[in-house]
Symmetry: C2
Subunit: 357 residues, 2 copies
């Protein structure tokens, strides 16, 4: 049975399919629908306050008794200067003027938000906690594991996977270059600026060979073919973002949903433009304009906060040229099914594929 493996047993789920956190686009309905369908839903708490996280947990629990995950961002050092912020604010002025927006007040309390989220996850006895943008410190990992919580990390290269395993992480998501949204990279590795942009077909078996913990494939996986191919490559499961983003259960705007459905696989780029961290999304004017930006883009989370209102207001007005439209490289495989129907379709597709062997 393809779905009975070390991952499903460890997470106590029926199918080795995880819905990616997708901070900003996940709803309690989506999380619960994926878990109810036998997968593992994830609350995308990356940008949440403690209050928002608690509300989402409560809502998910009203909808399902099955396990689900909370995904949070690991805070990182950043060294953006006030000068760089001023330059960016000057650059963003025309957009703000066009959208009638004020300059935002930067408010960085990543570390505090992170610590509060960990407390809540332990306090609420969440079953699974997944991390993006790095590895939390040893104490945090110990606290979570002592509380019986399974800890999932993200790696975009073999070295990052090994670092996760050494830190005591239980399960590693291998994020291939096809993946939409933020790159989980946290080590300076390759010779290129984009860091580790390794395709899923290459990344998964190389990580599987290098670690002993279960590996979850991510990047470009949209249907039963992608799920089964990932298992064949040695992964114990998959994580899917874009596939659930266009589902009717997500918080994605109709604009984003339609943009993904109507995109070609060649329409996405990897850009630091919106948040200060590299992320894959559909190319647009905001990204193109920023190619002329003469200074260094402020780091995450500063750039994220500087562009936040512009993106929100543009999305509200149906302007897709000034907002982020995260998508992986398989938009042609996107559907508008709800999450439950998508899960059923994937399971049926795998059964059909296996019956043909």
């Amino acid at each position: 049975m393809w779905s009975d493996n070390q991952l499903t047993r460890k997470l106590k789920i029926q199918y080795p399919i995880i819905q990616a956190g997708m901070a900003g686009s996940t709803t309690p309905q989506l999380v619960a629908a994926v878990s109810e369908s036998g997968g593992l839903g994830s609350i995308g708490a990356g940008y949440y306050t403690a209050q928002q996280l608690l509300e989402d947990i409560t809502q998910v629990r009203q909808l399902t008794k099955k396990p689900f995950a909370v995904n949070i961002f690991v805070p990182s050092q950043q060294s953006t200067t006030n000068n760089q912020i001023e330059h960016m604010n000057a650059w963003l002025k025309p957009y703000r003027r066009a959208l009638k927006l004020e300059e935002p007040v930067i408010n960085i309390n990543e570390r505090q938000t992170f610590e509060r989220a960990i407390d809540i996850i332990i306090d609420q006895q969440i079953k699974v906690c997944s991390f993006t943008f790095g590895i939390p410190n040893t104490d945090t990992i110990k606290r979570l594991k002592n509380a019986g919580i399974t800890v999932i990390g993200t790696a975009t290269s073999v070295d990052e996977a090994i670092a996760n395993e050494r830190a005591g992480i239980d399960i590693i998501v291998a994020q291939g270059s096809e993946a939409g949204g933020h790159r989980g990279s946290f080590l300076k590795l390759g010779p290129k600026e984009h860091e580790a942009m390794i395709g899923t077909m290459s990344l998964v078996p190389q990580i599987v060979d290098a670690v002993t913990v279960p590996v979850i494939a991510a990047g470009g996986i949209m249907d039963g073919r992608g799920v089964l191919a990932s298992l064949v490559l040695g992964a114990s499961g998959v994580q899917m973002g874009t596939a659930f983003l266009t589902s009717s259960d997500s918080k994605a705007s109709p604009l984003l949903r339609e943009s993904i459905i109507n995109s070609k696989e060649t329409d996405t780029v990897v850009t630091k433009t919106f948040s200060g961290k590299y992320a894959r999304g559909i190319n647009n004017q905001f990204i193109e304009d920023m190619q002329q930006y003469p200074d260094i883009i402020p780091e995450y989370p500063i750039q994220n906060q500087l562009t936040n209102l512009i993106r929100k207001e543009a999305a509200k007005r149906g302007n897709k040229e000034l907002t982020h439209m995260w998508s992986g490289q398989s938009p042609r495989l996107a559907t508008t099914l709800n999450a439950s129907a998508l899960m059923s379709k994937i399971v049926n597709q795998i059964d059909t594929l296996l019956s043909g062997v």
Copy 2:
């Protein structure tokens, strides 16, 4: 049976595994060993004169009676100016001086070489002809097909795959971003300079859904896991380059072989530096230096000819900083097995994987 499908029946081979042409690194021994092992070997005739092509065909036929392919490059328009060539020659002067080399005489007769190769392929009744860098004109495709020759094209995007099918191409190689060596891209598609750099996991199912002809997956495939995963994604077979490049049957220098075996997956970059066309190889000083180059790099095949002697001489001297070292993104999976042993290993691995289903 995994190996009995439309591709193996069409090509009259036992296993749906094709050795990539790898112009400059393929030997008649490698081609024959792959075909004798039940796959399809390919003579990499991209840089060959008519004489060299005929010699290779004769030698392969002395070693095997099984079918094999000839891979050739489709000539493209190019618009490099004399000024650009002069600038590049000035840039390359220090390298030539260090290696005691003269400035080469540029000699472009791509079209003529291409036409002669087609004549030879028809005349010699080669079973399969595969193309890189574009689609030949209708007359050429008709001549080949009328002669009973199966014609394989290369696509790095769905649009390129559709263009291949419309032109009457029989089988399409879907080349994912993980692939080593030259990108087969020929249409201006994406918003990025690198054109269509779509990961294999994303590219294969999207192309399979868009065309009716058999699709061959390429990019990052090194072992039985990659072959079977590609079939699950909907491909009818795979094409492998790097996996055969480090085999003892290839013409790869010990330098290149060792460099690949000792590389990490993050060590490669995609660069126009060596040939004027984008290709994936292990990063080195020559590539780094060229990032400072202030003018436009001459197009293929001019840049290829301008750097040719430098690369050859550097390789001869064991200097890996000044020569091209093509490799895909899975160097950690490379072996030094000979081609026949590698084929057996892959077949056994697939049998094991399938027995576990």
